[in-house]
Structures are given as structure tokens and as C-alpha cells.
């Protein structure tokens, strides 16, 4: 009886491990209905995803994918539009429960989306884009990584979005962001709308709008940094967003609570509001908020330069006792 049970469990394990495959993509690959083996890699990520089944992994070698000759379309030889861009209008559509990751990391694995195209859409429950040292750099997109409404249990790990004309990462679905970077995008770094989101070890740097923006979301943000963004480092609108162990530095404003009231805890907020001479560390339109225990740039707490203070026009927030020393926030490094 015991032996039979053991054999059945073993068979189940073996059949499961046989089922999950790794399909390879490389710049010396050739697309086809059977490509993906290590000796016969696919040339495009799109075809590897088409050949994959739920639970498979698509592993992408170093190089350039997408709009290879940067002519603004995706229909030239070896470009990602081999199967047509479809309704997604994106370079890569992750439309199955698969993991799509790079072999050598985001610094050397580039998805060039082109000026009229989104970077990556994640359109399947349970899908993953990237790994800690196995992400992608997405450049030239209208929006970098997009998760539509109704999609849940998505993980986005180790990716960088640079120079998108709108948001770096945008979601209306349930996403866990880990160790991603949003740099120099034309909109928000991370934009979450009506979503349940976890953010860990992420950086939003030099984006034109807010670094991290949450609208009617239920979010948990840890060990993440907003630096030199054109609006607030962190902004929450009508949400239940839990910020702890974050740093908001050198943004137009530090943190703003718009009809939101979850407290900011154990964080550093300083060097904000220099460009508009507002010295704006934190602001809200909600009365009676209390947020002690944060560092505002001076041992004495919030106040005049070099510390940050409450934003002009903000409802009063109880910020004392403040933390006397900096909370150091160093998100995990990726390659």
C-alpha cells in the first residue's frame, strides 16, 4: 500500500517535471513551430511564447529584440511582429501562464519597442516577466510594461524601462513588482490603477511625472526609492496604500496622500521641492493624519532647508516624534 502510494506520488512528480519545458530564444535562432530547443532556439520571443504551454519558461539570450533596425515598425525580418501585433500593439505579448526571462540580465537584453508600440503586455494570470538577474531593458516604447484589468498573480522582476513616452510600468491588475527600475520615462515610473500591487526593491528615477502613483489601489510598498521625479515621489489617491521603509528624495514633492490615510512609516523624505522652492516633503487633503517616525533631513524633524517640511496648502499632519537619523533604503541590485 505504502509502496503504491509512493510510486503514484513519484510518477506525479516526474510527469509534472516533464511537462514544464524551457524554450530558448537567441539572436542566432530561427523561428518555427518547433523552435525553442537549446540547439534550435527561436529568433523571437513572440514565437517562443506561441510555442510554449502554461508553466513553461522562455529564456532569452543577450541582444536586441523588437524593432531591430529602429525604423519605427515591427515587420522586418527577425522583428517581434512576426505574428502580427494584434490588439495588443506591443512588442511582446505574454498571453499565457509562462515565465519569460533573460539569461544574462537586463543590462544586455534589450526589447526595443518603437515609437508607436507598447513594450510588453502581460495578459495571463500567473505569468512572470523577468527574474532577479534575468530581466529585460525595455526602451523606446509608448508604455513599458502593461498589465490589463482582470489579470492577477503576475510577477515582474528585475526589469528596467527607459525612455518610454508615457508610464514605465502600468497596471490595472494584480502585480508583484520586485527589483525593477523606471528611468527617464515621460509619465509615471510605476502607475497602478484600481489594482492590488506589491512593490519591493524598486526604483523610479527621473520620470517626468510621479515616481510611484497609486489610484484607488490596495498596495504594499517596501524598500523602494523615488529619486528626482517631476512630480511627487509617491502619490496615493483614494487608496489603501501601505508605505514603509521607502525613500523619496529630490522630487518635486516627497509624498502626497489624496483622500488616503494609511500612514507612512520608517522612511526618509528629504531634498524635495527644490525646483519649485516649495520644500514640499509631505502633503494631504485629509485632516488629522499622524505619521511619526520618519526622517525629514534633520535630526530636529521637519522644517526649513536642509530638512523637508509639509507642503504648502497641506492639511496639518502630526509628524513628531520624527526619526533623528536617516533610514537607509538600498534596493537590491540587479544586472
Amino acid at each position: 500500500m505504502k509502496l503504491t502510494l509512493f510510486a503514484a506520488l513519484a510518477a506525479l512528480c516526474v510527469s509534472h517535471s516533464v511537462a514544464a519545458r524551457t524554450l530558448n530564444v537567441a539572436m542566432n535562432g530561427e523561428d518555427g513551430p518547433d523552435c525553442g530547443d537549446t540547439r534550435e532556439p527561436c529568433r523571437t520571443i513572440t514565437v517562443a511564447i506561441a510555442n510554449a504551454d502554461g508553466g513553461d519558461t522562455v529564456e532569452v539570450g543577450p541582444g536586441l529584440y523588437g524593432d531591430l533596425n529602429r525604423d519605427g515598425d515591427m515587420n522586418d525580418v527577425y522583428e517581434e511582429g512576426a505574428l502580427g501585433l494584434g490588439a495588443c500593439v506591443c512588442a511582446v505579448d505574454v498571453n499565457k501562464r509562462v515565465t519569460v526571462r533573460s539569461r544574462d540580465g537586463a543590462d544586455v537584453t534589450i526589447i526595443e519597442a518603437g515609437p508607436a508600440t507598447r513594450g510588453v503586455r502581460i495578459n495571463a494570470n500567473g505569468a512572470t516577466l523577468g527574474a532577479t538577474h534575468g530581466g529585460f531593458t525595455i526602451t523606446g516604447a509608448t508604455a513599458g510594461v502593461w498589465t490589463p484589468a482582470g489579470i492577477e498573480d503576475v510577477r515582474v522582476v528585475g526589469n528596467t524601462v527607459r525612455g518610454a513616452t508615457s508610464d514605465g510600468f502600468f497596471t490595472e491588475g494584480g502585480v508583484r513588482y520586485e527589483a525593477n527600475r523606471a528611468i527617464r520615462n515621460g509619465g509615471m515610473g510605476f502607475n497602478s490603477n484600481l489594482a492590488e500591487v506589491t512593490v519591493q526593491d524598486c526604483i523610479a528615477q527621473s520620470n517626468a511625472a510621479s515616481g510611484f502613483y497609486f489610484s484607488q489601489s490596495d498596495s504594499r510598498v517596501r524598500k523602494s526609492l523615488a529619486l528626482a521625479n517631476g512630480s511627487f515621489g509617491f502619490f496615493t489617491l483614494q487608496g489603501a496604500d501601505d508605505f514603509s521603509g521607502i525613500a523619496s528624495l529630490a522630487n518635486q514633492g516627497g509624498v502626497y496622500y489624496d483622500e488616503s490615510s494609511d500612514p507612512l512609516r520608517g522612511s526618509s523624505v528629504f531634498g524635495n521641492g527644490i525646483a519649485n522652492a516649495s520644500n514640499c516633503g509631505i502633503g494631504t487633503n485629509v485632516s488629522g493624519l499622524s505619521m511619526p517616525g520618519n526622517f525629514w533631513g534633520a535630526a530636529t524633524g521637519p522644517g526649513a532647508e536642509p530638512a523637508d517640511a509639509q507642503c504648502p496648502g497641506s492639511a496639518d499632519i502630526a509628524l513628531t516624534p520624527a526619526r533623528k537619523t536617516e533610514v537607509k533604503v538600498v534596493p537590491k541590485a540587479t544586472r
Binding site: N28, E30, P62, R70, V108, R162, Q205, G271, I274
Partner: protein, 346 residues
């Protein structure tokens, strides 16, 4: 002057020379909540600008920079406000930050969290200029009109550039003019010019990556004894690696997905490319050139992987492109990919 006085004067002179090192190297701190003064730098009284801390530092000291945005702090297009780096526009470096002494300038939390921005109005973002044995480590440098980081001027000891990101400079990412410079673990992304430009003797580049630059990934022009290893050029608009009128050795490099040639040799001088991976190049002009030799003599190119087991050829491999009298010594070719794994840059 008596002999005793002479000895005494000599001893005093020696003490004055050695005093800084005998006193022990200091760490001077910089933070966005600091305040500049001639004495700033202690951990409880950090400087506000990197330039002030460098001015306060002595040989052997370390300037440790906290996370934040340095340069044109209020982003009004000048460097004249109280929290701005005092850009050295009138001096030879024409830069936002100049390192002109044997010190280490490094960030506390890494390049992603520490930005120096020239905002496109200053010639260079950072210059290591007439320094010997200086180290610059762990910054994002952006917006230099000509380059992100310049290492120039005569030097007695090698300078080191480590773990930085040159991102979106109008010109090149890194320009190396000083001899024997070590450049390790840096990234050059989306610069208007090339990622790394070497025009010096004895430069050593290890573990760097250049992606998405408007010209080439790595360029050795007029360089002598340049060695580039364990580095990656991917998705640059021009060539991956260019060696022009230079002596340069490329070993264990990866050049993939660049718009023009994977590796380009031209002019006088000599070059080698060995134990490397060369594939997916030439898409901008449909050339499929993995290595283009226009030097007029044979180039050693052994141990390379060209995208298929039997060496260079048509797509999906890369091919060789040869000028008159410019063959490649190819054999043995590598049948499987040479992989280069870079260390993470914070």
C-alpha cells in the same frame, strides 16, 4: 647654516610631506540635507555639494556621497544656485564635478540612487583631470554635452572608474584619454555618441556593458595597448567594437544585435578578437558583418563563436567582411557560445 640646522629643516620638510598620510585618511560625507562650508564633511555635518567636499579633501581621503540628485539642483538651467554643484565652466575641465587629486569619490548607495546631471549645458558631467591614482565609483552621470565621464591629463598612477552608469549624455558615455586607466563594471546606456571611447596608452576595460548608444559600443581610436575583456556591446546603433588607428586586444567580449558591424578594424595599427561571441549584428544595413577587417593585414580572430558551430556564414550566423589584403586568422572557431556574465551594478 650649521649641519644640525640643515638636518632639522630636512626633518621638518619630511614631516610636512608625510603629515597628511600619517594623520590617516578621512572620509568626507556629502548629502542632500548637508550644508557647504570650508569644514563640512563630518558624518554629522555633511557637505551639500560634491565639489565642496573635494575641495576640503586631502590626498588619500574618500568623499562618500549619499543618495540624491547633484548638479543643477533646482533644474533651472544654471549652476549658480546655493544647492547647485559649482560647475567649473571657466576651467579646463568644463565639467560639473572635477576630481583633480588622489582621492576616492564614491556613492554610498550605488549608481541607481545617486545622479550627477549636467542637463545638456555643460561639456562634461565628471572629469578626472590631472589626478594620479584617483577613483570614481558608483554614480549615474547624465547630460554631458561631450561626455559623461572624462579621464584626462598626464598621470603618474592609474585612475580608476568603477561601477558607474553613463546614461543619456549628449555625447559619449566615457572618454579615456589618460594612460593606464582602469575602467571596470560600468554601463553606458542611450548616449548620443559611443559608450566608451579610448584614446590613450595601456587602458584596461573589464566587465563593462554598452547598450543602445547612438554610435558604437566601444571605440579605441589612436589607442596603444588597449585591452577590453569580459564586456558586452548589445543593441548599439553603430558597431559593437571599433578599433581605428589603434592597437587593441578584445578578449572574451560579446557583441550582439548592433546596427553595424560586430567588430570593425580599420586604419593603421593592430587588433585581435578572441574567445568572443559575435552574432546578430548588421541589422541597420543588412550587412550581417560580424568582423570587418579593413586594416590591410591579417587580424587574429581565433576561438570565437559566430552564431553557428562551423564559424562565420550567412544568417543566422554573422559573417566576415574583408578589405583587400585583410584576412582573418579564424581557426579554431568555437562551436558553442562564449558566455560573459557581468556583475550587477548597484
Amino acid at each position: 647654516m650649521s649641519q644640525e640646522s640643515l638636518v632639522r629643516i630636512t626633518l621638518i620638510a619630511l614631516w610636512l610631506c608625510l603629515a597628511p598620510s600619517l594623520a590617516g585618511a578621512k572620509t568626507l560625507n556629502v548629502a542632500m540635507h548637508g550644508a557647504d562650508s570650508v569644514t563640512c564633511g563630518a558624518s554629522n555635518a555633511p557637505c551639500r555639494t560634491i565639489g565642496r567636499a573635494i575641495a576640503n579633501a586631502l590626498t588619500g581621503d574618500t568623499v562618500l556621497v549619499g543618495p540624491g540628485y547633484y548638479g543643477d539642483a533646482n533644474q533651472d538651467g544654471d549652476f549658480a544656485d546655493s544647492q547647485d554643484e559649482p560647475a567649473l565652466l571657466e576651467q579646463a575641465c568644463e565639467c560639473v564635478v572635477e576630481i583633480d587629486k588622489r582621492i576616492t569619490v564614491r556613492s554610498r548607495d550605488g549608481a541607481s540612487a545617486t545622479v550627477i546631471d549636467a542637463r545638456g549645458v555643460v561639456r562634461r558631467t565628471v572629469a578626472i583631470h590631472f589626478a594620479s591614482g584617483a577613483t570614481f565609483q558608483g554614480f549615474t552621470v547624465r547630460g554631458g554635452m561631450q561626455s559623461g565621464v572624462l579621464v584626462g591629463g598626464d598621470t603618474m598612477k592609474p585612475n580608476r572608474v568603477i561601477g558607474n552608469v553613463a546614461d543619456k549624455n549628449l555625447g559619449h558615455g566615457f572618454e579615456i584619454y589618460a594612460d593606464d586607466t582602469f575602467v571596470g563594471g560600468n554601463r553606458a546606456f542611450d548616449n548620443g555618441g559611443s559608450g566608451f571611447v579610448i584614446e590613450s596608452e595601456g587602458a584596461r576595460l573589464v566587465g563593462n556593458a554598452a547598450s543602445g548608444n547612438g554610435e558604437s559600443g566601444f571605440v579605441a581610436v589612436g589607442a596603444v595597448d588597449a585591452r577590453i575583456s569580459k564586456s558586452v556591446a548589445s543593441g548599439n546603433l553603430g558597431t559593437g567594437f571599433s578599433v581605428v588607428n589603434a592597437d587593441a586586444e578584445l578578449d572574451s567580449v560579446v557583441t550582439v544585435g548592433n546596427g553595424l558591424d560586430g567588430v570593425y578594424f580599420a586604419g593603421t595599427g593592430d587588433g585581435r578578437v578572441t574567445r568572443s561571441t559575435i552574432m546578430g549584428n548588421g541589422h541597420a544595413v543588412s550587412s550581417n558583418c560580424g568582423v570587418n577587417n579593413q586594416m590591410g593585414h591579417e587580424i587574429v580572430a581565433v576561438g570565437n563563436y559566430w552564431g553557428r558551430p562551423n564559424g562565420p556564414g550567412p544568417d543566422p550566423a554573422d559573417d566576415q567582411c574583408l578589405g583587400d589584403g585583410s584576412p582573418l586568422d579564424l581557426d579554431p572557431v568555437k562551436r558553442t557560445e562564449n558566455k560573459v556574465t557581468l556583475s550587477a551594478v548597484k
